[in-house]
Amino acid sequence: MNAFELSKQAVIDGREARKKGEMPRLSEDEKKALLSRYHPDLKEEAYTTIRIGVNKGQKTVHEVVRLLEGESPLAENPPDLTPKHQVDVLVIGGGGAGASAALMAQSAGSKVLMSTKLRLGDSNTVMAEGGMQVAISPEDSPVRHFLDTLKGGQMANDRTLLKTLVSEGPANAKWLMDLGVMFDREEDGNLSIRSGGGSSLPRLLRCKDYTGLELMRVLKDAVLNEDIEILEFSPVIEFLTDGNGTCTGAVLKDLDTDKRIVVQAKTVILATGGIGRLHIQGFPTSNHYGATGDGLVLSYRAGAELKFQDTFQYHPTGSIFPEAMAGLLVTEAIRSVGAQLLNVKGERFVYELETRDAVASAVIRECEEGRGVETPAGRKGVWLDMPLVDVLHGEGTLADHFPNMLRQFSRYDIDITKAPVLIYPTLHYQNGGVKIDVEGESTLKNLFVAGEASGGIHGRNRLMGNSLLDIVVYGRRAGVAAAKRASALGFCPLTLKHLEDFKTQKKAAGVVSETVSPILFPDYVNKG
């Protein structure tokens, strides 16, 4: 047996003995020490200072700064700005936040147009597995949900945004269910809830490990059933403003024909999701193909302020073997029902339900200190022992609760009910984003931002299950607010004046950039 197989066998052999073992939780000080040493967010050389724009002087990772300081695709040959579409509300992004926003704006009487980069529904939302946090059990309360989230967010969360998130959770769960979303139930008909990392009580509503698929399928169908015009494969590549701090529309690019499409809108809702496909610090990612941080780039260039743009979530358990599955998420929910993390010697090294930042840091520590396992492709990781779930809860539990996971691995002849799998942190979520107020409006007037593209709600670290809640609560709020605003407005001038301002700033700061942003897609094509 080679080292890889030997280590795997050690995990299998040790399972029975480990079954009941307790792992001490980290004290606040231990956690701090662990994060400061190993968390990718605290790696100084990965960061650089933003030289232009509203957040000038602040930092974020090289990969994001490069795009924030990039050139507009319209810088060289600006199109004729005669609008092809004139609408009340332009929704940008076809994930959960965009779909929720579009539904609300439409039902408030607005004429809504949706632009998406891929198809409606091809998003991070559809990929969510673990669940959505809502405080519904009699023991629980929105206040408790608030406290857990604040602690998880390193006390940095915008408290007004957070209070609204947790307080409106139950009403939003009901809204989803009224559209036909089916969450798992207990025998007595009540919603079934599960624990998640960093939460003091079980609070996760879910649909097996297909929660995002269930949500997105229903939301997409609901949108298709309404009178909402959708332009698929037509991402926004630049905003339009009145030249005076107000967003007035956007320029889209038709990916099939390469034509520019000018949209004039009374209000705009940006819901473009996250950044995983930027592969920050070389990490693999759990995100969909279109997660390239376009929302950050577009808003920033038009003058909106960012918040916590320097913090990212590296989900502790991304698959690293086989290579074809690298980056793919193994849901945290599997750890909440007992799956353990083990190093090359088959030893546990962290309490598995610490917050994600802490668990990810502990995994990185094991690998950096030589206690990781190397894959044939040269990646390093640690074991996630899932069969333990069946040992603890009875045979068939994995198959019943995690059918998606079982299927994913079985395609590569890995039986997760028998063997452990190899994992390493995967770039998962942008904790920050465009700064918003409680109606979802950014600092650029009439530009509303919802979902993963926004920043503030989750502070510096998002808790599991809070993002699905966020996209619905704030997607809907933005939809309502944008529709209301639009109803009292006429159309405003379309200009690209913000590009000139940007150019002036760049010149003054001596910024020269060869990057054109947003990039829309990662570059995986072999040019050789």
């Binding site: 529904g121 006390m155 269910m177 003091s200 994913q408």
Partner: protein, 229 residues
């Protein structure tokens, strides 16, 4: 994905055919990775890269038999002699508007919206086409018989890739029927959750208002010690 382009066969490459053109690619790649590797720019036919969005339905053959098989291209590794193609940039399909808000009896309404549902001839082609292993045919029959709960459960993992649609000899769109059943089940037939309704009422009646007011006036330290309590 920065593997050098393998134009000649070496020990770790496999010979594949992509849309009729022959290529050698490293073994272990998925179909989509093989397309990138051979220089294909992709916008259509790719979405989540995790087997869950249904953007990448594909058809392929392998040397051992004549059967044209179906797969999700982001989830299927290439093998020696495989010939494949993404199936369609877009599946034309009839748009059916189902207005659940105005509906009275979804189990009857299905025959108006999707009249083909009753015409299944049991050929089972849909089930064989499904890359998620769903028993599609049984699901369609559950819809026809009004057994929405069982039918909804069967379609739980449906990613709406549409591979079942063009193979149906009765022109049923089984994935659409499945989704309709799921939504109808959720809207009309699932139990209400008493915990959820109770919490909504508490919030409405202001049960937590005093606690909020006190909490939001506290310092960080006080909040931390409260949350540890």
């Amino acid at each position: 994905m920065t593997v050098s382009s393998a134009k000649e066969k070496t020990s770790h490459t496999v010979k594949v055919e992509i849309m009729g053109k022959q290529h050698y690619v490293p073994e272990g790649l998925t179909m989509l990775q093989a397309m990138w590797h051979t220089g294909h720019e992709l916008t259509r036919g790719v979405g989540c890269l995790g087997g869950i969005c249904g953007a990448c339905p594909s058809k392929y053959t392998t040397p051992e038999d004549a059967k044209i098989k179906t797969a999700l291209a982001c989830q299927t590794q290439v093998e020696e002699g495989m010939s494949f193609s993404l199936t369609a940039a877009y599946y034309p399909n009839r748009k059916v508007v189902s207005d659940f808000k105005k509906m009275e009896d979804p189990k009857q309404e299905i025959f108006r919206l999707y009249p083909e549902t009753a015409l299944c001839r049991n050929c089972d082609a849909c089930t064989r086409a499904c890359p998620k292993g769903i028993d599609v045919r049984t699901g369609v029959w559950k819809a026809a018989f009004g057994q929405f709960k069982e039918g909804a459960d069967l379609f739980l993992s449906c990613v709406m890739c549409s591979l079942c649609v063009p193979v149906c000899i009765a022109d049923i769109a089984p994935n659409q029927v499945g989704l309709y059943m799921r939504r109808a089940q959720g809207i009309f037939f699932n139990e209400k959750s008493s915990h959820l309704l109770a919490r909504l009422e508490e919030i409405e009646q202001g049960k937590f208002d005093a606690e909020w007011e006190q909490l939001l006036s506290l310092s960080d330290e006080a909040i931390i010690s409260k949350s540890l309590a």
